[in-house]
Amino acid sequence: IAGITQAPTSQILAAGRRMTLRCTQDMRHNAMYWYRQDLGLGLRLIHYSNTAGTTGKGEVPDGYSVSRANTDDFPLTLASAVPSQTSVYFCASSKQGGTEAFFGQGTRLTVV
């Protein structure tokens, strides 16, 4: 089934540790996004990529980095996790920048 796959589905992480959230899509979409979702704050854009080889900062990029080596994969890395990064992380993709986005099932991350 075509779509977006995120891994892991959930993770408990010690503060200070490095963590990479994986995201893969098989729809050949050009644009990909990482959002975090927190109660009362909705979905906030962390980083995005409009095409392979390019990335951009969203609304809340601090503490996160991304890479886009190819069309299908868009990993999100927390270099040194902090408790405020406890959240649900969603990866999404769209055919091109600005068109409707399709979401993965999310990664529930707890930093302790």
């Binding site: 977006i4 996004y33 959002y35 009362g40 704050l41 909705g42 979905l43 854009l45 995005y48 409009n50 095409t51 969203g58 969603f90 769209s94 091109q96 920048g97 600005g98 068109t99 409707e100 986005a101 399709f102 979401f103 993965g104 099932q105 999310g106 529930r108």
Partner: protein, 113 residues
Amino acid sequence: QKEVEQDPGPLSVPEGAIVSLNCTYSNSAFQYFMWYRQYSRKGPELLMYTYSSGNKEDGRFTAQVDKSSKYISLFIRDSQPSDSATYLCAMNKGYSSASKIIFGSGTRLSIRP
């Protein structure tokens, strides 16, 4: 002020009622408007996608956009318990590499059997 404002609810209505969900926005450059439905512990799924002002209907769902008032609505007719979810509005400026999708914070809807 947030670019997109949405009442968080919760909104509780009896089965069969017509539901009205709304968002307001401040940026007149927004041209594309979306509604997503999100069930608990799941990712958002796209429900409706409209361009500029006007109405769009899909089964029991109708999306309305009033650009002059910077106001969008989603109507659900003959609401069902399975419609219980969080509904998020979203919008962007159009098809361009610089355009990002901005989301409302979501309205939690509960349909009582």
